[in-house]
């Protein structure tokens, strides 16, 4: 193997907290070869971003590092700020996640790319602009001559990320750091960006340091993988070895925890449930609109959707951002009125119900939010947060409420002595359990769950979903499970409804929709999900190309 572009030896990174220095990266050594894609993989707190940000010297102000980072033989640790500045952008460029926030909203993308060029090269404004247009062409942004003058908010999420990539490629860097490049994007957009990165891999000379928690993305792009845990390397090797023959127990458990679309037929098809007399949730030609401004047409978020969820069933509501999936969830708890159509919860029509009936209906419905920590009062201990619905809707006295809270904590497998803790003192997984406990306090017959695990690490996600499945079986509530993650849906849902732009695309049992999708959008959605298996992913990539060819 030729000399690596980047050589990291015994890298240690410390952060100052008050007076103490705390080491978070403990002597990491790794090489990045020329033209290679190296993935840094690990859960939050593993130090993967910290390692990457050490390379161009972009640690936060309270951080310091030691050891050695050599870029083409040049030592970067201890280099002067001036030297590092010249390296940034020109030799080491970074693609950040969430391009909406990573690009400056007050400048056009052309301006921002030009700034990068002119920081390192003597270029006239016209030359720089011309080069910016070329770069936008390179990343397949349509109408680059026009788009170069667009502000970030005028572009779609995918185009923004393309612009971000174009900026990073502007000076033909030797090392490209891609920090969660697809995390904030919709599945189909993520697919497109991965496709672009894949394509660029062959066209540019840069080595790519890929930082991600998504094993599907890793399987899609990486040549070699470094697995990190708590600031130290657990295992490294080429992609096939890590995926198919992981040596370390941590790597094995990490891979096992990843939910993937198995797309394998379910062994025994569930017997079709008896159609219950009154469905738990029954949306009949529902239309939901958000009022437009003065003189503008209202925005139709849900357009003539008919959905029926029988008691005790779990339905996955799947779609990309703007599909209306969360709108349906909000309408189900009575937070949004219907413009037309009917919505019946346990047989009660929310449109015609009076205030008393609505109150009773709300008792029957509970909601679990994406970030349970942000959806309960941060100044209340969690015991109080869980008890609140009991206080509002039941006549239980304090002692009885306490007993019930204890019981709920047991049910969601949270230690009883956590009840006096505040939300910020808990981990993400624990907070999500609090959210579930609170939702179950009144034993609802219908639960609306909105992206409950998308903010969690894979191993935590696995446990929370396991708990959810257990509780669902035990309590038998019906559930609308809102998510963008098809793998999660496959694991928890009996039925799936696919939404797009406020319209129902397809609905059916989980097996039907995932195994033999009828609609081309559903097919594309499924094809866009990267699976954590390099060989299968390569095959899916080919299939996806065919599908897209079909669609165009």
């Amino acid at each position: 193997m030729a000399a690596p572009v980047l050589q990291i030896r015994d890298l240690r990174v410390e952060f100052r907290q008050k007076k103490d220095w705390r080491e978070v990266v403990h002597g990491v050594s790794l090489d990045v070869g020329r033209g290679e894609v190296l993935a840094l993989v690990g859960e939050s707190g593993s130090g993967k971003s910290t390692i990457a940000m050490s390379i161009p010297g972009l640690l936060p102000r309270n951080g310091r590092n030691s050891g050695s980072i050599q870029l083409d033989g040049q030592e970067l640790i201890g280099a002067s700020p001036g030297t590092l500045r010249k390296i940034r952008g020109r030799q080491v460029a970074v693609i950040f996640q969430e391009p909406m926030r990573a690009l400056n909203p007050v400048y056009t993308i052309g301006w921002q790319i030009r700034e990068m060029l002119q920081a390192h090269q003597e270029l006239s404004k016209e030359q720089a602009r011309e080069r910016a247009v070329e770069l936008l062409k390179l990343v397949d942004i349509p109408e680059p001559e026009r788009r170069v003058d667009s502000y970030p908010h005028q572009l779609s999420g995918g185009q923004r990320q393309r612009a971000m990539i174009a900026q990073a490629l502007a000076l033909d860097p030797q090392v490209l750091i891609a920090d969660e490049p697809t995390t904030a994007l919709d599945v189909t957009v993520q697919g497109e960006i991965l496709e672009l990165l894949h394509d660029l891999k062959g066209r540019i000379d840069a080595s790519i340091l890929l930082i991600t928690h998504d094993m599907g993305v890793v399987a899609d792009l990486a040549d070699r993988i470094v697995v990190l845990k708590d600031g130290a390397i657990v295992e490294q090797g080429d992609a096939h070895q890590i995926f198919y023959d992981p040596q370390q127990p941590y790597t094995q458990s990490l891979l096992k925890a990843v939910l993937s679309l198995s797309l394998e037929p379910v062994a025994a098809e569930l017997p079709a449930p008896e159609p219950a007399e009154t469905p738990a949730f029954d949306l009949d030609h529902g239309v939901i609109e958000y009022p437009g401004g003065r003189g503008r047409k209202p925005f139709r978020a849900i357009d003539d959707v008919t959905l029926r969820l029988d008691a005790g069933q779990v339905m996955g509501l799947v779609g990309e951002s703007g599909s209306g999936k969360s709108t349906i969830g909000r309408a189900a708890v009575g937070l949004l009125p219907l413009a037309s159509g009917a919505l019946r919860i346990n047989g009660l029509d929310l449109v015609t119900a009076d205030a008393g009936q609505l109150r009773e209906a709300r008792r029957q419905v509970a909601m679990v939010f994406q970030d349970a920590g942000a959806s309960v009062n941060p100044r209340w201990p969690i015991g109080q947060a869980i008890a609140e619905p009991l206080q509002l809707h039941t006549d239980l006295d304090a002692a009885a409420r306490d007993a019930r809270v204890t019981e709920l904590l047991d049910r969601v497998q949270l230690s009883r002595n956590l009840r006096n803790r505040f939300p910020h003192q808990l981990s993400g997984g624990q907070r999500q359990r609090v959210g579930i406990a609170r939702a179950l306090a009144l034993q609802p017959s219908l639960l609306i769950v909105d992206e409950p695990t998308s903010a969690l690490d894979v191993s935590v996600q696995e446990k929370v979903l396991e708990l959810f499945a257990e509780l669902q079986e035990e309590f038998g509530f019906a559930c609308l499970f809102i998510t963008h993650d098809l793998a999660v849906v496959e694991h928890v849902a009996d039925r799936i409804a696919v939404l797009r732009h406020g319209k129902l695309v397809e609905t059916g049992t989980t097996a039907e929709v995932l195994m033999s999708p009828q609609d081309s959008y559903t097919r594309r959605l499924i094809a866009a999900v990267p699976v954590p298996d390099p060989r299968e992913q390569a095959q899916r990539r080919r299939q996806r190309r065919e599908l897209l060819g079909e669609a165009s």
Binding site: R90, A93, R101, A102, N104, P105, V106, A119, Y151, G293
Partner: protein
């Protein structure tokens, strides 16, 4: 955009009508007889009083008085005070002085407020940051007249650096009153800039800017300050609108014949048309500068679009 501005200006009309009527009614409701007060110890002959009352419509009911005033106003006539001077002349005389004072104050606000705020954000929790925190707290909690007298005594009288009062020395004599007038807003600007700047410097796009290898100065100014200034500019613009209404306390202490003094004197003499004329103008300025700020906001932040 044009339609937006037009709509905003139309919306200003009822506000102007409403405020002018309120002021009119308040002056009407003041106890005492303005004409008798005007005469002082020497009672005027009854026919003179009657003539003055008729001239200023003082015997009509409130609503009629107001309507007559409005009719006059629409002919471009702001009326006269009791001495017979047109109100428009008073405004023309006093407003430039107030405007100059306001400009001096705004310049202080911008220079000291923004600089202090930026430095505080860059060196958070440093001795400078703490100094600014303490001094701004002091300025905010001390009443303006105390500050005015203190500045006058220390910088004007004891040290003799600036004229103590009056406007005999042109712009130079406005420095001290300008500083006093700006003090409170300066403190707010410093705090606002600090918060906004600190937030912006922590934003993801500033990290992106750093990763591009541009100079730190450029990162701080073009990516930090440029974005952080948006709320600050809004505040300063609105403040300018308020300052154009004159500063009664500052103008009194430093003996500056600005619009604030004029309105103060007119209130004391119960000269209805003068008070109403000036206050309506103040309200107009306030609305106008707020509109300018809103339009500017759209220029500074491309995400905002008006329809």
């Amino acid at each position: 955009m044009i339609r937006y501005i037009g709509r905003r200006l139309l919306m200003a009309l009822p506000v102007l009508l409403g405020t002018s009527f309120l002021i009119f009614a308040m002056v009407y409701a003041l106890p005492g007889d303005p004409i008798r007060a005007l005469a002082g110890d020497q009672p005027l002959p009854p026919e003179v009083i009657a003539q003055l009352r008729a001239e200023h419509n003082l015997d009509d009911p409130l609503l009629l008085q107001y309507l007559k005033y409005l009719a006059q106003l629409f002919q471009g006539n702001l009326g006269t005070d009791f001495a017979g001077n047109p109100v428009s002349e008073t405004i023309a005389l006093r407003l430039p002085i107030t405007a100059r004072l306001a400009i001096v104050a705004i310049i202080f606000e911008i220079i000291f407020g923004i600089t202090a705020g930026v430095l505080c954000a860059l060196y958070k929790n440093s001795w400078f940051d703490n100094l600014v925190l303490v001094s701004t707290t002091m300025v905010v909690s001390v009443p303006v007249f105390v500050l005015a007298f203190l500045a006058q005594w220390l910088l004007g009288f004891q040290l003799g650096w600036f004229p103590v009062a009056g406007i005999a020395n042109g712009w130079f004599s406005l420095i001290l009153p300008g500083l006093v007038l700006a003090a409170l807003s300066m403190a707010y600007v410093a705090r606002l800039t600090r918060t906004s700047m600190a937030e912006t410097l922590g934003a993801d796009h500033v990290r992106t800017a750093r990763s591009k290898g541009i100079s730190e100065l450029r990162v701080v100014t073009r990516h930090g300050l440029r974005n952080a200034l948006i709320p600050v500019v809004t505040f300063i613009g609105a403040d300018l609108g308020a300052m154009m209404g004159g500063a009664i306390v500052t103008e009194s202490v430093f003996n500056i014949p600005g619009i604030g003094r004029a309105v103060f004197d007119a209130v004391r003499n119960q000269e209805g048309p003068v008070v109403v004329g000036i206050v309506t103008m103040m309200v107009f300025f306030f609305i106008f500068f707020n509109l300018v700020v809103d339009v500017l906001y759209g220029v500074l932040d491309p995400r905002i679009r008006y329809e």
